[in-house]
């Protein structure tokens, strides 16, 4: 029951100055801000007002999103070998205010012999469990691993990989995540098939195998074919938030034609997807896009090849006009590309000399991590540990 202070609160004195109003507005989601542009003229131009923009940025960076409660940061790094040397993926746990502590974690036994190009799917953990994948020619490894308990569980091979002895599959992992309705862990993949060359296929054995989607469920411990037409991922940037796997693609729904880039969001619970196109001013053939989660929000870090990066935050899933430009990173010389974001406005990058660094959005300072990494092979993972057995069941 709301208390009221009585009739002395005349409307005359109830005037919040614009400055304070901005302070209130800076704490609102993008959808509300766009709607309130109708309130008055100055509010329609909020994101062009530097004063407001600074308030909005400060709140955005400092506001603790619950997604990050109890989490740590993992760095999955691949070396850039000299000729004759092998590739190795190394996993580090970063801690400390300035990530000054880097502890190397050992991969689970299935990767002890070959630890090259190990991918941590969707850069996420579910109840302390990561999903690791490695594609090495014909060899395909995929398993669940809890680095805290060292437990691992190998995911069985899919019956759809070798439907025809004359066709070779190419596997594209699109996501790993949690179905909270069935309390299940799921892995999503896209397969496409190519004729094995130099092999004469007997006419009676000819089998045309179409590209297809498949999904693995831990509860049923099996792969199921998904009857869906959906664009597969074009990059290594895949995310998982609240039971939805996100990636971006330059394919159309049947993965046959080149299309303008779009965000694809696949709901693991009801197994349907939503597409969010990018606004026209984000699409430029010279732009390099990097999809990431920034303080809990889906964002693209866009590099326009003039050493200036800017960040667009998605206001509403499915709405291409809602990508809002919030941050502009002043020219960062010799910075090549982002490798992920931390928990409080830190953005990790790789420099052109292979050095991995992190950039603090609030202080605009750059610091080296002390390790080098290969182009496009290093990623940041937000990890929440747990002692639960894999699957929790």
């Amino acid at each position: 029951m709301e208390k009221s202070m009585g009739a002395t609160n005349a409307k005359v004195i109830n005037h919040i100055p614009e400055d304070l109003a901005f302070s209130i507005l800076s704490k609102l989601p993008l959808k509300s801000l766009k709607r309130f542009g109708c309130v008055r003229r100055s509010w329609a131009l909020l994101f062009e007002n530097l004063h407001f923009l600074n308030m909005y940025r400060n709140y955005f960076i400092s506001n603790n999103h619950s997604y990050y409660d109890g989490t740590s940061i993992l760095l999955n790094q691949t070396n850039n070998p000299l000729s004759g040397e092998a590739f190795h993926s190394t996993l580090y746990l970063l801690s400390g205010e300035r990530f000054e502590n880097m502890v190397k974690l050992d991969w689970p036994p299935p990767f002890h012999e070959d630890d090259s190009f190990i991918e941590i799917l969707s850069k996420t953990s579910v109840n302390g469990t990561l999903c690791l994948a490695q594609k090495n020619g014909m060899d395909l490894k995929c398993l669940f691993w809890n680095p805290t308990t060292d437990e691992f569980k190998i995911i069985p091979s899919s019956p759809f990989l070798y439907q025809s002895p004359y066709m070779e599959p190419t596997v594209n992992f699109n996501g790993f995540g949690y179905d909270h309705v069935r309390d299940d862990y799921k892995v999503l993949r896209w397969l496409c098939f190519f004729n094995i060359t130099d092999v004469e296929v007997p006419w009676e054995d000819y089998l045309d195998v179409d590209a297809m989607w498949e999904i693995y469920s831990l509860r049923s411990n099996s792969w199921t074919k998904l009857d869906i037409e959906m664009p597969t991922s074009a990059s290594n940037e895949k995310l998982h938030v609240d039971g939805v796997c996100h990636w971006w693609s330059i394919n159309d729904d049947i993965n046959c034609y080149d299309s303008p880039p779009r965000l694809v969001s696949f709901d693991l619970c009801n197994e349907v997807f939503l597409t969010t196109h990018l606004s026209s001013d984000m699409i430029d053939p010279l732009n390099i896009l990097h999809l990431t989660l920034l303080n809990g929000f889906i964002a693209f870090i866009i590099y326009d090849q003039t050493t200036t990066f800017h960040i667009r935050i998605l206001g509403e899933l499915g709405v291409k006009e809602s990508w809002t430009k919030v941050f502009i990173l002043e020219p960062l010389p010799s910075i090549e590309h982002p490798i992920g974001a931390g928990r409080k406005g830190e953005i990790f990058f790789r420099k052109d000399d292979d050095e991995l660094v992190w950039f603090d959005l609030s202080t605009q300072m750059i610091e080296e991590l002390g390790v080098k990494g290969r182009e496009h092979c290093c990623h940041i993972v937000i990890y929440k540990d747990s002692l639960l057995p894999i699957g929790g069941f």
């Binding site: 208390k3 005037h15 209130i24 766009k34 709607r35 109708c38 309130v39 008055r40």
Partner: protein
């Protein structure tokens, strides 16, 4: 669980006088949370009664209570008690007294209350006049159609 601010070694008391003449005796360390009061003390060290001409007694009482008790749980419960008018007046008080913690809490509270409302509602709440031309507003509504979905009825 309310957390009382720790007793400073100097439990010197100060008197704050609200705009309607109501007097409040507070400890120095509590009064110092209001940076406006702090500035006053810095200027005239021997002062015992500090005038607060912009704030009514009933609001100053709430502000002092907040400073004494503040923590996150208290914040969440605190803002539920007041109607929109009082929240705004409290924000003006906190702004004048320069108490950043309380300002943040109140801004967040007001933001939460207007988050899903219509522009008309917001104009009424903040007593703002619409300076858009009808054409301008219509254009904005069309451009941001997606932002108007699922909005609370006024």
């Amino acid at each position: 669980m309310a957390e009382e601010k720790s007793q400073a070694s100097s439990s010197k008391m100060l008197t704050l006088k609200a705009s309607d003449g109501v007097l409040f005796e507070v400890e120095l360390n509590i009064a110092k949370e209001m940076k406006t009061v702090q500035a006053y003390i810095d200027d005239c060290e021997d002062i015992e009664t500090i005038p607060i001409p912009n704030v009514l007694g009933k609001h100053l009482a709430i502000v002092i209570e907040y400073i004494k008790k503040t923590n996150e749980e208290y914040d969440a419960e605190f803002e539920k008690q007041w109607n929109m008018d009082d929240l705004q007046l409290l924000l003006l008080a906190a702004n004048y007294l320069n108490i950043s913690g309380l300002q943040e809490c109140l801004c967040k509270a007001i933001a939460k209350r207007i988050e899903n409302k219509s522009p008309e509602y917001v104009r009424k709440v903040f007593n703002i006049e619409n300076d858009h031309s009808p054409e301008e507003e219509a254009k904005l509504r069309k451009e941001y159609k997606w932002a108007f979905e699922g909005v609370d009825k006024d």
